[in-house]
């Protein structure tokens, strides 16, 4: 695998291979020296055009645990504020010859564009409202740990589907792993045609009890340029996952950061059904597996590395 741009580019075998490797990295994360030399000498560039705490830090930690060097580039406080275009920024940074670029932008498709401008492996860490593939992979990983398999499970994705790249990637990934997916939210926040991804659509929580997994999405105020719901209080009254709506055997997930009292009530965030911290923990090992996949594990690199004479040739 050369880049990770979209879940749609993967097969079920790819996902299983990456997540099996993530399980091997879990053992690394549990020991005293949480570092292996697998990617020693490689450079990973974190290019973030949007605020991010957990994604950026977990990519950074993942790269460091594989002994890669990490350069962090945040758009604020950089040449981007001076008016540099995405292409010029990427070309400038490519001069540092990174082996992988982890990129998050507010523009759909930007990661795929960047893949055409550089020889580095590109990992999409969120492009606008389109996709966030590593989040989907870590969610599948968390569910595999929690439930064993996703085959035949009912997963409800509830909330602001329209503004959510997580929803799009997750519907694709959950479906690929054999789960039934239902998206649910107010009609203004469900994009038209989402059924094309292979999911059901509901506009109320009446049948929520049929779900094995409830995946709540964050209300994304920052992406809402108009009023999609009358008020957050009104939204919460109809769609909040709370102790009354969540069953004792259902698994509760959320990509974070949580708006307590909006999409989730405080009590369910702290309930034993919630696997939100497990998702964060999966983030590091799954991103280690993704970096390993694009930099070491996949098909031979298109880019010719300077050949090191092997002992065989010297002999």
């Amino acid at each position: 695998m050369r880049h990770l741009l979209s879940i749609a580019d993967l097969t079920r075998d790819d996902i299983e291979r990456i997540l099996d490797r993530a399980a091997a990295f879990e053992e690394v994360s549990d020991r005293d020296i949480k570092k292996v030399p697998a990617l020693r000498g490689r450079t990973v560039l974190n290019l973030f055009y949007e605020a991010s705490t957990r994604t950026r830090s977990s990519f950074e930690l993942a790269a460091k645990r594989l002994s890669a060097d990490v350069v962090n580039f945040a758009a604020s406080g950089s040449s981007v504020e001076k008016g540099e275009s995405l292409k010029d920024t990427v070309l400038t940074l490519t001069a540092h010859s990174p082996d992988a670029i982890v990129i998050r932008t507010p523009n759909a498709g930007a990661a795929a564009l960047v893949a055409g401008w550089t020889t580095a492996a590109i990992i999409n860490a969120g492009d606008g409202k389109r996709e966030h593939p590593t989040q989907a992979l870590l969610d599948v990983h968390t569910l595999r740990r929690k439930l064993g398999s996703l085959e035949g499970r009912n997963i409800w994705i509830v909330g602001d589907v329209a503004h959510s790249r997580v929803a799009r990637s997750n519907v694709l990934a959950f479906r690929m792993m054999g789960a039934h997916v239902t998206v649910c939210g107010p009609p203004t926040l469900i994009p038209r045609g989402i059924e094309a991804l292979g999911c059901e659509v509901r506009y109320d929580l009446d049948d929520l009890r049929e779900a094995d997994v409830v995946y709540a999405l964050r209300m994304q105020h920052e992406r809402m340029d108009q009023h999609f719901v009358p008020s957050l209080r009104e939204y919460a009254a109809q769609y909040q996952i709370n102790g009354r709506r969540l069953g004792p055997r259902q698994v509760l997930m959320h990509p974070g950061p949580v708006n307590r009292g909006v999409e989730l009530s405080g009590e369910v965030v702290d309930s034993p059904q919630a696997v939100i911290t497990m998702q964060v923990k999966s983030g590091v090992v799954v991103r280690m597996a993704v970096l390993y996949e694009v930099l070491a594990g996949g098909a031979p690199s298109l880019r010719q590395r300077p050949a090191r004479p092997t002992a065989r040739q010297l002999a």
């Binding site: 292996v36 030399p37 390993y292 070491a296 090191r308």
Partner: protein
């Protein structure tokens, strides 16, 4: 194409492993501080067998671990294809122990180097020894095994295959000619 030459059959392998077990007891120092660590995958199988032999023959119960060295290899950049990764299992404290690393074939020594590096990420063993079923020569690193099942002088292009019942259905060590290996 020439048929693979059998250098050890199952009876030979049993005898060889028994001898290795005796030698490990003889030269491994304090039996209480001894531990076996096999390298995935056939080394891990052989380490498990040696552990059983130590228990049967000498009534010594040693901790057993296995090591996956994929993340420590020095050829990640030059190899192609996705390596199959197994998890490492080292459930005991390696500090101050005599660790005997077990592998099937010793060739360039690069795998053993990676295994030693991996091992030291788990602690500081008092001593590290190396036991191999077959030593085929062509070392690229200054390494010497402490326990050798069989010395196999080989040509560089020949392939040495170790088969074990647990994974391959039979016990044998065979050498294949370069032409046959390429075919």
């Amino acid at each position: 194409m020439t048929d693979p030459k059998v250098v050890l059959d199952s009876e030979d392998m049993r005898r060889t492993l028994t001898r290795l077990a005796h030698e490990i007891v003889e030269n491994g120092g304090d039996a209480d501080r001894l531990a076996l660590v096999g390298i995935h995958r056939r080394g891990a199988v052989l380490a498990a067998r040696l552990r059983e032999l130590l228990a049967d023959l000498h009534d010594i119960d040693v901790p057993l671990g296995d090591l996956d060295i994929s993340f420590y290899r020095d050829d990640v950049t030059t190899r192609t294809g996705a390596p199959v990764v197994h998890a490492t299992h080292l459930d005991f404290d390696v500090d101050a122990r005599t660790i005997v690393i077990v592998d099937d074939v010793l060739f360039t020594g690069r795998t053993v180097r990676a295994a030693i590096e991996a091992l030291f990420d788990y602690g500081r063993p008092a001593r590290v020894q190396l036991a191999v079923l077959a030593d085929r020569g062509h070392r690229e690193l200054p390494l010497r095994p402490d326990y050798v099942g069989k010395n196999l002088p080989t040509a560089r292009g020949e392939r040495v295959y170790v088969r074990v019942t647990e994974l391959d259905g039979e016990d044998s060590v065979t050498i294949t000619e370069p032409a046959a290996a390429a075919a």
